[in-house]
């Protein structure tokens, strides 16, 4: 049997490529006629081929089933120009094909022709879609490859950022980001950069550097303190035609238009000059190289260069300031009348396996029950998070009531997206009006609400599937995820770190009349429909710190505010 299937698949590939002869066609028919299983398999293969052909327009426009809801509600006038732009994007040959049946163009039919022509152009002539929007898959592909390349080409790591302001043409970096070779510039503040060779450099802004390799950087301007343990000996900084080679030590370097100043605090450095002349400086020595190229000795002033301990304490101050800012926001938010349930993860002391609901006035009924999940450090030392590492880990909640629009928001640290479905918040089962919020292994955020009772026939649920947001570099970082489901505007919007990731219009019939949560799990999915002990592994491989559910679709500004007040 399976050899016949194999043969069928092989023949079909030949058929598609136009290289199948008469005998081949006869053989396909011969396999199909007596064999119902082969016929079913044949249709399966054909349907996947058809689906792939239809993928041509995926990501370009919403799939037709999604478009129809919004489009058919538009007026003729709105549709027509849309159609023209589609039709004109095809070549005359293609347009001829589309409009080959000329009697279509009688006026009563124009709308229909328009809609259909639009579809045909989209689905039949993919070459013209290239310039518009990239197919989701390929878009992600390039983004992924870029990040992979950046990681493998990384030569240093950002380990602290305190009050840093980024330059105009320098994309903002985060702690934990790998730095590729190239320009690194800050306007103000302090950044700690650890080179892969083991040298740590504290950069005080304004500063501009060119990272050359894991052991070498060129300094255009700024004040730096380098801490070079023995393992990193040989680490060098270049200023104009001078090279400062470290022999295992701690030294300061400040560069401005007036010249460069090298100060050795501990150990020894070697200055290399173009004249091939080397000069050793040891602890307590300082040399100034003027803009004209002359050298003179000066005083060491270690207190003017922030050291690692100093930066650590500044970073600590910044962290506690951010914690206080979050705390103030959180305390105010607890009284927001739109809150359905808010878990701040900030109880002190023993949690007794309860995740307290932080709404005010207090409602203990909304407290969650912690199953398995381990308490771990949260965004700040002062608060905790829950880690959903093992397949059974979860927080059980029971949230009564019926609602209209919803917003779900949480802080999450993802270790890896290694499940097909990585749960954020899911109601038990999946019945009418119940939301499911999860992340696919592809890094796409997936939100859906079932429009009809499970047992009832009717429209399928609308799946708001975002483009992939996941980059390997996000591993171990706290991210803010949010989704709003606006019943009136029939819009589902995904957010990451306070920014809109994607927006989806939901066809009327796929939007339920009300939403409800009831029994649900945070960080996992419970399926009461499966009575046996087996369950699909859908736990979030990571940690959650804060989860808020609002009975309203928050605005983009409000989501941004949550992010700004909560980022660690």
């Amino acid at each position: 049997m399976s050899t016949e299937f194999d043969e069928l698949e092989s023949l079909l590939i030949d058929w598609e490529s136009g290289s199948l002869d008469e005998q081949g066609v006869a053989r396909i028919r011969e396999i199909l006629k007596p064999n119902a299983e082969a016929r079913s398999h044949f249709v399966q293969m054909q349907m996947i081929t058809a689906a792939m052909q239809l993928e041509t327009d995926a990501g370009l426009a919403p799939p037709l089933s999604e478009m129809s809801g919004s489009r058919s509600r538009q007026t003729l006038a709105e549709l027509t120009p849309n159609c023209q732009s589609l039709a004109t994007s095809a070549t005359s040959e293609q347009t001829r094909r589309v409009f080959s049946t000329s009697f279509w163009l009688v006026s009563a039919l124009s709308l229909l022709v328009c809609v259909l022509a639009g579809w045909i152009v989209y689905s039949q002539f993919p070459d013209h879609s290239d310039g518009l929007v990239k197919v989701a898959g390929t878009g992600d592909l390039s983004a992924r490859d870029a990040s992979r390349e950046a990681t493998s080409h990384g030569i240093a790591l950002v380990t602290h950022l305190v009050d840093v302001e980024w330059g105009v043409d320098q994309p903002a970096l985060e702690v934990g980001d790998a730095l590729p070779p190239g320009r690194f510039a800050i306007q103000a503040g302090h950044a700690q950069v650890e080179f892969f060779c083991g040298a740590t450099v504290i950069v005080e802004g304004p500063a501009e550097l060119e990272l050359e390799s894991a052991t070498l950087a060129r300094v255009h301007s700024g004040r730096l303190r380098a801490h070079v343990p023995p393992a990193a000996r040989g680490f060098a900084l270049e200023v104009d035609d001078m090279t400062v080679v470290d022999l295992g030590t701690e030294f300061g370097l400040s560069v401005s238009t007036d010249g460069a100043n090298v100060q050795v605090f501990d150990g020894e450095v070697e200055l290399h000059r173009p004249s091939n002349e080397k000069r050793r400086l040891s602890a307590g020595q300082s040399v100034i190289r003027s803009a004209d190229g002359s050298y003179r000795d000066s005083q060491v002033t270690p207190e003017t260069f922030v050291d690692i301990a100093g930066l650590e304490s500044r970073a600590e101050m910044q962290r506690s300031a951010r914690y206080e800012r979050w705390k103030a926001w959180s305390d105010a938010t607890r009284r927001d009348p739109r809150l359905i349930a808010y878990y701040a993860f900030d109880q002190a002391g023993d949690w007794e396996r309860r995740l307290a609901c932080s709404n005010e006035p207090t409602n203990k009924e909304l407290d969650g029950a912690i199953v398995g999940a381990r308490e771990v450090e949260g965004r700040w030392d002062a608060k905790r998070a829950l880690e959903f590492k093992r397949p059974a880990d979860r927080v059980r909640v029971q949230i009564p009531g019926e609602y209209s629009s919803l917003t779900l928001a949480c802080w999450v640290k993802i270790d890896s997206l290694d499940r097909w479905y990585n749960s954020l918040l899911l109601t038990d089962g999946y019945d009418k009006g119940e939301p499911h919020w999860q992340i696919l292994d592809t890094g796409q955020i997936y939100f859906s609400v079932r429009p009809v009772e499970r047992t009832q026939q009717g429209p399928r649920d609308f799946k708001a599937l975002s483009p992939s947001f996941w980059q390997p570099s996000m591993n171990g970082k706290w991210l803010h995820l949010a989704v709003t489901c606006d019943m009136d505007a029939r819009t589902i919007t995904h957010y990451t770190n306070g920014n809109v990731l994607s927006r989806h219009i939901v066809p009327d019939e796929q939007m339920p009349s009300a939403t409800r949560i009831g029994a649900a799990s945070i960080g996992n999915w419970a399926t009461p429909t499966m009575p046996d002990a087996e369950f699909a592994i859908r736990n979030l491989n990571g940690s959650i710190d804060e989860m808020a559910i609002f009975a309203a679709a928050l605005t983009a500004d409000e989501i941004k505010e949550i992010y700004d007040h909560g980022k660690p």
Binding site: E9, S10, L12, I13, D14, W15, E16, S17, G18, S19, V25, I28, R29, K33, R39, S40, F42, V43, Q44, M45, Q46, M47, I48, T49, A50, A51, M52, Q53, L54, E55, T56, A58, P63, L64, S65, S68, R71, S72, W104, L111, L112, V115, L116, W119, I120, Q124, P126, V135, A136, G137, T138, D140, W420, D441, T442, Q444, R460, L465, T529, A536
Partner: protein
């Protein structure tokens, strides 16, 4: 329901089911251009028969019935050109094709994450051959490989995709 509402509803239904009609027709004809032609003819016949359209009845079964007739008519009229299936097989396969075509959007949704699991090279092959409709020879030339090796690769990748799609569809149902 007045006639403009009915027209709007009809267009909405027809638009919504285009992918399913295409899936159905393509699975029986196995040819992109012919399938597109027959879907257009089917749309036209449906439009002409709008008086028979009953908004409270399932649109898709009505549309499938018309599409089935159009496919059979196409097979009958194409005496000279080679066809994949004869009319006997089209009739036998029609029900199965309708059943599976109903799922074509779910298959598309499942395909996207499945595509992501392919290696970049394999994904590129599928995109060239199926999304961009490049011929086998052009696909092979574009990646500097032989047609034979592309064929073997496509067979393997398609099998992989089919297995992944089936798994995803099954997981969704549970």
């Amino acid at each position: 329901m007045d006639s403009s509402d009915k027209t709007e509803h009809f267009v909405q239904q027809l638009t919504e089911h285009q992918n399913r009609l295409y899936g159905y027709v393509f699975s029986l004809l196995g040819d992109r251009n012919r399938a597109a032609d027959v879907v257009q003819e089917t749309n036209l016949v449906l439009w002409r028969k709008i008086d028979e359209f009953q908004p409270d009845k399932p649109f898709l079964s009505w549309a499938f019935a018309i599409a089935r007739f159009q496919v059979l008519a196409h097979v009958r009229d194409q005496k000279r050109d080679r066809l994949l299936l004869d009319s006997e097989l089209v009739a036998t396969l029609s029900d199965e094709a309708q059943r599976q075509a109903g799922q074509v959007d779910a298959i598309r949704e499942a395909l996207r994450p499945c595509m992501q699991l392919l290696t970049p090279t394999n994904r590129e092959l599928i995109e060239r051959r199926y999304f961009r409709n490049m011929s086998m020879a052009d696909t092979a030339a574009s990646v500097e490989r032989t047609v034979g090796s592309i064929k073997v690769a496509l067979l393997r990748i398609r099998r992989q995709l089919a297995a992944c799609v089936q798994k995803r569809l099954a997981a969704e149902d549970s």
